[in-house]
Symmetry: C2
Subunit: 422 residues, 2 copies
């Protein structure tokens, strides 16, 4: 048994489920003899480097001795949107080019007697886990100081569902439930008038179309789904789009279309590029927005009917009031499994979700080698998209559907959901 | 007792509660001996003029004879967003200028043996009720055919809460609950990073700031509310706005600001005017949008920090998944009261909501003369806005708070809320 403290961080864009994973890791570490302390990094690795650490054991203890966990507080945390510990977007330098950075970091971990390191995030965060664990394993071997072992485990999180080596990612199910529900409401809203009108709903996901595909879930449940759905995985043609819209307008006056923010033409140019700043973040991601607006202007110019675009925007990642119970439970479970795996000896891995059965839906949590995950992207496979590239297949929808099932039970006070506060 | 059929229409922009009012009117008319039939206009008065009518008595009967109402179906209808009967935006001509229009309409009503006419909508719809009832009363007197009596009753509906002669309007509470909840989630989402950033949330309401004021509800419940709130009722100054933003950025890095889509400068020019088409609807309303975007560009240019704008958009009027139970119950109640009042002899009126007590909150439904309501707008009074014009008072928030209380119980199937289908 490796005896020492545990440190947990949250990183990257927040989701409605990332705090459930934090609660899961805390829960898995609690009442564990070899875990001497549980700490949280404020604002991820960036805050930790500034010495910004919070005592989670104290915070989530039901008794003064810290022997029992406070289940009620853990539940409130699980249902609170966005990263309770704060987040950051920091890319670590390659270990070989800046060893002094790692020496400092490991020094700080050693000072706190940290033996377990958990990082909850997307593929950029898994890059952090990979670099730290590979640095440490090289260190341990070269300096033969294996007594300075620190175990690094990643916990997946992203609404985009674009991590490799996992069936899906915590956070995706809640975002998909928000999107599917909202798109259904929008379809009802749009249906009230008889004047021909086109509504374009722009959905997040960067280069992965999973979230946009979720807009179609109503098709296999309630019958309400957009006329067309365009994912970034197939090249987008303005001409095909316009003829799709014209064809839809012949069928009925209230056309609703779902588009991914990351749509690109066959030459790899973003459709929304004209309408945006072109600024890239530290990882080289371009901030995408304006795809819906660009297509709105196109329809206005070329077809001339009433048209509007709706950006679902950041509610996609923080609308915890309509979170998926399946998602919140899995996010908690994967965090708890990560804690147990680390105590059991795992390191250099991410705890992933394996779908053991489609019907009835069932999953298992399994550690996967971090190097197969970091910096890689899993997009929607071509066979999940229809031939014309303007819709998704039933198989795609059936893959997503179980992830949105179940409703969470928020505590409301005076009409507003209660959130966790440190 | 006036014996004959009843006709119900829905008009104007949809809300999350307008179907609850439809359910309420149907419920109030059912099992009423003198009401021989209950009909719905498809797409309001416009569809009715085309002869598009639906038999609601048949549709909501629990038995074949139509003696009992189907409570389950009425409940599902109550929780379904947007106008189930369809809507329209038709302004009736003045009765004196186009009497032939009214002759045709009244002829069609007579043919269906309609004695009760209900129109659920905002102030434009109340204009329809006013014109019809004044035309009919002049007709009845001049032609002394008082046996052709038809009673016209308006049922209030608008998320904007801008109708006169009523404490508030059905539909507002649900929109306010959606806005307050979403703004809280956005504030949590924005709080995760340490990089200075401004998030501008654009909220509906045209020239009335009630919905935008709702963004501040967290202040008296959870402590989460925007740094500043700007309503269209006070002249908006770009300079004061910029110094507010700068001051907020000095306090903390994550600034969230709520702005109304209808903000105007001291000369009455819309702030979002540059970014919009300037198209006006048949009532002369300008479609507003772009206020948030315009201010985003201003902050980017003048302050230079990270900034984004979020338009809450049509979810404000159709997010029934987070509807207010108080609102849905009142929307139903006001519809039911309208039905009973009409049967009891009322006409030329709108059923309004009177707040009988603030704490505990309690209301009564009272008919009000339609001429005091039609085409008039009730904006946020100056004393509900702080002196600097960048926030709302506690009194304002306390007026809104009881309207968002309580959560509705949707039936979910496979993760999605079930909607009513005719």
């Amino acid at each position: 048994m490796l005896r020492g403290g545990a440190l947990i961080g949250q990183s990257g864009g927040p989701t409605a489920a990332i705090n459930a994973s934090l609660a899961g890791v805390i829960s898995g570490l609690f009442e564990n003899e070899c875990v001497t302390g549980i700490y949280g990094m404020k604002n991820g690795i960036e805050g930790f480097l500034r010495g910004d650490v919070i005592d989670l054991k104290k915070c989530f203890s039901a008794d003064e001795k810290g022997e029992k966990k406070d289940l009620k507080r853990l539940e409130t945390l699980s249902l609170t949107p966005a990263a309770a510990l704060g987040s950051c977007r920091k890319k670590l330098p390659p270990p070989e080019s800046e060893p002094e950075f790692y020496e400092k970091l490991v020094g700080m971990l050693t000072e706190l007697d940290i033996r377990y390191f958990f990082y909850i995030g997307g593929n950029d965060s898994m890059d952090t886990v990979m670099k730290l664990s590979s640095y440490m394993s090289v260190m341990s071997v070269s300096k033969s100081n294996s007594d300075r072992e620190i175990r690094f485990v990643g916990v997946p999180k992203t609404i985009d569902n674009d991590l490799c080596s996992t069936d899906h990612t915590p956070g995706f199910g809640s975002a998909a439930k928000y999107i599917a529900t909202t798109v259904q409401e929008i379809i009802r809203d749009c249906a009230v008038y008889t004047v021909p009108a086109v509504t374009i709903v722009e959905i997040m996901g960067r280069d992965a179309g999973w979230l946009t595909a979720s807009a179609g879930l109503g098709e296999i449940v309630t019958g309400y789904s957009p006329d067309y759905i365009y994912l970034p995985e197939t090249a987008f043609s303005l001409d095909s789009f316009l003829s799709d819209v014209r064809r839809a307008l012949e069928r009925h006056p209230n056309v609703v279309i779902a588009v991914s923010e990351g749509l690109m033409d066959k030459d790899g140019r973003y459709i929304g590029e004209g309408a945006q700043s072109g600024v890239a973040d530290v990882f080289g991601h371009k901030y995408l927005s304006g795809t819906g607006k660009a297509l709105e202007l196109l329809v206005k110019e070329k077809i001339g009917c009433k048209v509007r675009s709706v950006e679902l925007n950041i509610s996609q990642r923080c609308a915890s009031h309509i979170a998926s119970l399946t998602d919140i439970r899995e996010a908690f479970g994967v965090g708890e499994a990560a804690a147990r795996a680390a105590v059991g000896g795992a390191s250099g891995c991410m705890m992933s979700i394996e779908r053991k059965s489609a019907s009835p839906y069932g999953v298992e949590f399994v550690p996967k080698d971090i190097s197969t995950i970091a910096n890689a992207v899993r997009t929607v496979p071509r066979e999940f998209i229809n031939e014309a590239g303007n819709g998704v297949t039933r198989e795609c929808l059936e893959y997503i559907l179980p992830l949105i099932e179940g409703e969470v039970n928020h505590t409301y006070r005076l009409g507003l959901p209660e959130f966790f506060v440190f």
